[in-house]
């Protein structure tokens, strides 16, 4: 949390204590029929939905439904590619599931109707409610849709003043007179409505989604008459569309909580990188990032990484910097992960080598030499025996996990001199002990300098960066100058959208490398 003025804090309290949530419902016959059809399809198929064919088809259909339920986009958005996909699926269905092909045909027909409609019921509702007075924002559930929604708003002069925001921005000190929230309240974190950043929140959803949101009770027992803002929930204001009679539809609880199927995305990427089984493997977590990128990072929570944290507190060293070098266990969605865009994931080594100058090759060779000898020893005698032997050699922390780490190219040397000496003794380098210790010390020092250099450069860039643009795009490219110890090159800060709970065994060489997400 950044320092804010008392006046800004007062505005946030005003929003929290005087704000109101207004619920609005909109209706559209063709879209309602399409959504109902997907439900029907799932219902009829029952256990068949586990088949890959239906899973793939339903995923595509639900993604469209999800996007159109949560963003004010014309109903024909994305329908060209989806129609073509459904058409292909229909052909396959005739052979594979002939009894169900009429259902796919029906879905195709409904979608075909939508593909011809430029109607935008959610946006129409916003137009009807928006005031040109006051600071107004529209919360976008799916950050990747921001540019396309912005284009839509740009078509209407009365909407051009609306600022597009994501959920992470609403943690900060930004506040508005009006905030439009589209879709079901359950799609958003509690604080969006429980601790609002606007005096008026307009929650707009399709009428067939039942949403009985009410303020969440926080404490088991409240002291006296204390309460939250959100006893102020305005009765539903029904916004009609195209003259539809609101009582003519059937309330259907439609499951729109599709969102992105992270499991599906993760599995695809994991399969892609696990092919190389000859390499050293490491347990890693998958980070799904903005701009349809992803990256594997070490699952060991104590491993550190660089992040850009626009709203966070100071780090453990009590430094209030937006660029932080923090343990991966503390990295959260909403932060921006800093990765090397060119030349692979490792950005410290090239800069450190530049700092080391001519000595770099020789020092790195020494580092590689003892690691190779240690790996050979492990290969010959097994990791358990090597660990025990190291303990006999007076190592302090020799165990299987640490020995693996010491062998790995990710580490420079063991933290403890005793451990390092024990390794050098074990691999027969005891006569050159001091030489190897010095080499490791010089490499470590260069790595530290490289880290400071990168942080310094990033901080300079962040100061100049358009933060609003960064929120909007979800990523920011940094060009490192070729002077000052670095060899130039580019880094990117990408917003973290999701971190996998599961850990995966992946080749070490894939760590820190950006992987394009081809299919969400």
């Amino acid at each position: 949390m950044k320092h804010i003025s008392m006046a800004v804090a007062d505005k946030l309290y005003t929003c929290a204590t005087s704000g109101s949530v207004h619920k609005h419902k909109v209706y559209h016959t063709a879209f309602n029929e399409f959504c109902t059809m997907i439900n029907k399809l799932e219902h009829v198929l029952e256990e068949d939905t586990q088949d890959d064919y239906w899973q793939n088809l339903l995923r595509e259909l639900k993604r469209y439904r999800f996007l159109l339920n949560t963003s004010p986009l014309p109903l024909n958005s994305y329908t060209t590619s989806l129609l073509s996909y459904v058409e292909d699926s229909l052909k396959k269905c005739h052979y594979s599931f002939p009894k169900s092909s009429h259902l796919v045909q029906e879905v195709f027909n409904k979608l075909f109707i939508l593909s011809g409609l430029q109607d935008n019921p959610l946006l129409e509702a916003i137009i009807g409610l928006v005031s040109e007075q006051g600071h107004t924002a529209l919360l976008i559930k799916e950050p990747s849709l921001l540019p396309i929604v912005e284009t839509e708003l740009g078509k209407y002069p009365t909407l051009r003043h609306i600022e597009l925001v994501n959920i992470h921005q609403l943690r900060g000190a930004q506040h508005y007179q009006s905030l439009f929230v589209v879709g079901h309240s359950r799609l958003y974190p509690e604080y969006v409505l429980n601790s609002p950043r606007a005096i008026d929140i307009h929650l707009i959803r399709y009428s067939w989604l039942s949403d009985i949101w009410k303020p969440k009770s926080i404490f088991l027992q409240l002291y006296m008459q204390s309460n939250g803002i959100n006893d102020k929930v305005a009765e539903d204001v029904r916004t009609q569309y195209e003259g539809q009679q609101l009582h003519s539809y059937k309330d259907i609880e439609t499951d729109i909580f599709f969102e992105i199927n992270w499991d599906h995305v993760t599995k695809k990427i994991v399969t892609q990188v696990q092919e190389d089984t000859n390499q050293e493997q490491i347990l890693a977590r998958l980070y799904l990032l903005a701009n349809e990128q992803s990256v594997f990072l070490d699952s060991n929570g104590s491993t550190k990484g660089y992040v850009l944290d626009l709203e966070g507190d100071e780090d453990e060293d009590e430094e209030l910097h937006q660029v932080k070098h923090i343990e991966l266990s503390k990295v959260r969605p909403g932060m921006f992960l800093i990765l090397r865009t060119e030349g692979g994931g490792e950005y410290i080594i090239p800069i450190a080598d530049k700092i080391l100058g001519e000595k770099a090759v020789q020092l790195r060779a020494k580092q590689e030499h003892w690691k190779i000898l240690l790996r050979e020893a492990v290969l010959k005698r097994g990791i358990t025996d090597v660990s025990i032997e190291l303990l006999y050699e007076d190592a302090n922390r020799a165990n299987e996990i640490n020995v693996r780490n010491w062998m790995s190219n990710k580490t420079i040397r063991p933290q403890d001199d005793k451990d390092f000496r024990a390794i050098l003794g074990l691999v027969g380098l005891q006569d050159k002990e001091q030489e190897y210790l010095n080499a490791a010390e010089q490499i470590e020092s260069a790595h530290r300098k490289a880290g400071f250099y990168i942080r310094d450069q990033l901080l300079k860039r962040v100061v100049d960066a358009d933060i609003q643009e960064l929120h909007k795009k979800g990523f920011l490219d940094f060009e490192l100058p070729a002077s000052g110890g670095g060899d130039g090159g580019s880094l990117t800060a990408l917003r973290i959208e999701h971190i996998s709970l599961e850990v995966f065994s992946v080749p070490v060489s894939r760590l820190g490398h950006l992987i394009k997400i081809k299919d969400k």
Binding site: V8, Y13, I218, Y223, L320
Partner: protein, 323 residues
Amino acid sequence: MLINRVFYMNDGKWKTLPLWGQLLFDLGYSLGSLNSSENCIVVGIALPTRAYAASLTAMGVVAGRLSLFINSNDVLTRFQQLASLTIGTSLIYRKPDKVVKGIFEGIEEDKGCSGIRLRAGSQCYILPPSLALQVEIPTKEFTSPPKRSDRRTSNEVSPFLSLFLGKEVAKAVTLQSKIDCVMIGSLGRLKEEVNETQFAVKDSSGTFISGTFQDVIRVRRFSSHEAYRSDIYHVHSNENVGSYQETPLVAIFDGATSFLKSREMWQNSHHIALFDQTETEFDAGVQAFNEGFTKNRLDGLDLNKPVKVPIKLPISIYQERRK
């Protein structure tokens, strides 16, 4: 001293402190003015932002404590604490015009009265119990006897403090050190809030007299040689708070992470947990608070007067047996 007569600076103009600010001050004041009790009060409050919450609450605690001026319990507690020290312990004696660094030489009995014997170079002071709060135990022992055993200090009391607390109390505050409360949170932000935020009170002529939180709460970490009333610990602090010399009356947790990480360290203090509804650990913090409520809650509430809740912010207060 009335908090509703405090102003803050906005766009070059003085504005009345908002109601939420007064609530947080009152909350601290209620706990600060409590007499010793067997029980601890635990407060949880869900806020839209943590900004200024810890500082205002701390200001309330200190003002509440000073409203009991001079609290004989505090004086007695400090005297007992000093009496139990090992001979040779470093001490600081704060006189109106100077600070004396010395070494504790034990308790001297004279004509049925006890006094603290303090050696400062060639000089020896016998300090009666009533001056106990003017004697501090420094955070670090003196490595060698101070070459100059005392140093002159400004005796000036800030006009803001005088108006805010009253002249007599303000003068005592500049001499007496005591930890009324600790804040556990983000050092950088709190430092900026405590030292930079401008407040004002009006004097009899209607002139605004300005000051900062630090004038009142006197955070030990942020003061060089002045008497202190509070302290701050970083949320990820590795400092050994177990060796803390005094038990603060109130521990203020600036955020859920602080509450989750540090509440066990301050078991003998009243707790105020300031939860920010937008922080990532909010749910975990509230869950821990509610679990404490379910497990430890005692009937009744030993508050001198009810905490004012002028605006709609979710607050929960219960008391539990002191551990």
